[in-house]
């Protein structure tokens, strides 16, 4: 459990970093950034192989954050892992920044693929996984897809492709946070049973609490086996997870962050980290 506590603390740090970035520019896509902080902590804290000094290392594992607007969470993670100085988080969305609202592989060290037009990261990840496979690399490609994003038809073209081409080095992480910009997905565009869908497409599928490190760790670990089937982990998450005040707001896709909120939320997350350290 000690390792998991470290990952939990890392997730809290990622949340703090994302909030730091968003607060610096005044507002941003906070809900969907917070919901994936835990999986990012497990990926970059445990599961993925990478080298911050050589971010383009071909043998690395790759992350495609297809819900590109979650950039601040990805940037926070990369900064904490030393891909670029933490202070740069405060340049989010400023003129000339390396950290645009949506992930851009040509701007940010450690961002493996450009995303932002929803759905497109799925096909890109398939191409990357196929490319690694054809090159004989044992790297894996991790693909974070939003549940709102999965309204896009391209997502399902890509999933069919992944199964058809036996991309066992592809791990799809569906952020089932149940909300999209206009409200609840059940009201806007309900997509039905994701687990059944993935299974029907031929994925090795599990469902976990995506905001629980203890569940994410074994689910990701078992994808190391590779094989002939792509993996899907349906992550049951809360949009805004980790900051109650954000999670409680239904319409939390993009929110302003005041100085007062920034101070308070950061203090709460610091307390959380301290408590985890005491537990160790």
């Amino acid at each position: 459990m000690q390792e998991n506590n470290k990952l939990k603390a890392f997730a809290a740090e990622i949340r703090m970093a994302a909030i730091e970035a968003i607060h610096s520019i005044g507002s941003g896509h906070i809900g969907g950034a917070l919901s994936i902080a835990d999986v990012l902590a497990v990926l970059y804290g445990r599961e993925m192989r990478y080298d911050p000094q050589n971010p383009k290392w071909p043998e690395r594992d790759k992350l495609v954050c297809s819900k590109g607007h979650a950039g601040p969470a990805v940037y926070g993670t990369l900064a904490l892992k030393g891909f670029f100085p933490y202070e740069e988080l405060k340049t989010l969305n400023r003129p000339g920044t390396h950290l645009p609202s949506h992930c851009d592989r040509n701007k940010t060290p450690g961002v493996d693929m450009t995303t932002g037009s929803l759905g497109q990261g799925t096909s890109l990840a398939c191409g990357m996984a196929l490319g690694d496979k054809l090159r004989g690399r044992d790297s894996r490609v991790f693909l974070i897809v939003g549940d709102g994003e999965s309204n896009e038809g391209q997502v399902w073209e890509a999933f069919a492709f992944a199964a058809a081409k036996k991309l066992g080095n592809l791990v799809v992480l569906l952020d089932w946070n149940k909300r999209q910009l206009d409200g609840w997905t059940k009201d806007i565009f309900p997509m039905g049973d994701y687990v059944a869908k993935f299974e029907a497409f031929g994925f090795d599928t599990v469902k976990v609490n995506g905001n629980d490190i203890d569940e994410l760790v074994p689910a990701l670990e078992r994808t190391r086996a590779g094989g002939d089937r792509p993996y899907a982990i349906v992550m049951d998450t809360v949009k805004g997870a980790g900051v109650a005040e954000v999670a409680e707001k239904v319409m939390n896709h993009s929110l302003p962050v005041s100085d007062e909120q920034y101070e308070r939320w950061t203090a709460q997350l610091k307390e959380e980290i301290k408590a985890l350290e005491v537990e160790q």
Binding site: N106, G116, Q120, C126, G127, L130, L134, R135, K165
Partner: protein
């Protein structure tokens, strides 16, 4: 490069040329990978693809995904060559071309077969008069409207290693033979096919043959028309446009595409800024395509040598009264 035009058809079908050239290029370059959207049998690559599953990916009828996969493969170090019919190689997957490939700097080559009226019996649904316009608006793109099979081979080889998103529009059937076998046609460099003093015809694709026919007919009437092959629509050979417009003082542009957004627009932009010159356009007048044999369609949409002659005479009148 040698011009061997005599009005006769090249015996090679472009689909056969694609079916031979793509495997040949793959044999030479281990980074080349070919993707198709269930149209391998249309360009003769299916047999080779089946025997070389590591070099060829059939993506099924899912063009948006195919462009994304190609872009992902580019990021993994491959040089993807993608094929489908022109409409599906452009408008069907434009956002993917724009962002996954263009914006993300994942370099890919796209072949769109059967542009404009060469879609013939597949009809209006399959007849892209807008593909060039779409690709022109993609920063850093390269656009080729193929003139004959020799050019197809030359541009395919150049596009493979060229940065950016490259679009090659080419009919699957035959073309009038313009260039000697083995000729190299450098991308971005217009070819002067015929000298002339009264006007210049800028043409691309199937309209090159029509332009040469028109120029021969005009000569009989004492009108001297230069013909330039503007096969690279982007980046346009701006200097060729300016120097020939200045030299002749009258311009006709001929293309198998909507007059909005293609070669007509590209040439007009240069003329307006660099050397305002009377110009006339032989292109599709903002219409959707329809079904029929190519001869019928060229008449229907005003894409024949006779239409070019007419445009030439009308622009000459404006030149005189200028």
């Amino acid at each position: 490069m040698k011009i061997v035009y005599d009005g006769s058809m090249d015996p090679r079908l472009c689909k056969a040329v694609l079916g031979e050239t793509i495997p040949a290029m793959a044999a030479e370059d281990p980074d080349l990978i070919y993707l198709d959207a269930d149209l391998m049998n249309c360009i003769g690559t299916a047999k080779w693809a089946a025997a070389n599953p590591d070099r060829a990916v059939n993506c099924g009828i899912a063009e948006a995904n195919m462009i994304g996969v190609a872009a992902g493969l580019a990021s993994a170090g491959f040089k993807p060559i993608v094929h489908t019919f022109g409409p599906f190689a452009s408008r069907r997957c434009y956002d993917q071309l724009f962002l996954s490939a263009g914006y993300a700097k994942n370099d890919i080559t796209v072949i769109g077969t059967d542009p404009g009226v060469t879609a013939t019996l597949n009809g209006g649904t399959h007849m892209p008069f807008e593909d060039v316009a779409l690709y022109r608006a993609l920063p850093g793109s390269t656009i080729i409207d193929v003139t004959d099979p020799t050019m197809l081979i030359s541009v395919l080889r150049q596009c493979k290693d060229r940065p950016g998103v490259k679009y090659i529009r080419v009919g699957r059937k035959s073309y009038a033979r313009v260039y000697e076998d083995g000729s190299e046609l450098p991308i971005g460099k217009a070819v002067t096919l015929r000298e002339g003093t009264d006007l210049v015809i800028f043409a691309c694709g199937i309209m090159v043959h029509e332009a040469l026919q028109a120029a021969a007919a005009l000569e009989k009437e004492g009108i001297s028309a230069a013909v330039l092959d503007m096969f690279t629509i982007k980046p346009l050979d701006v200097e060729a446009v300016v120097s020939w417009a200045e030299k002749t003082g009258a311009v006709v542009v001929a293309e198998n595409h909507n007059r909005f957004g293609g070669l007509c627009s590209a040439v007009s932009e240069v003329l307006a800024e660099r050397c305002p010159t009377p110009a006339a356009f032989v292109a599709v007048e903002d219409q959707f395509g329809e079904v029929g044999p190519q001869g019928y369609l060229q008449e229907r949409f005003g894409l024949t040598a006779a239409h070019i002659e007419e445009a030439a005479k009308s622009v000459l009148k404006r030149k005189e009264t200028k």
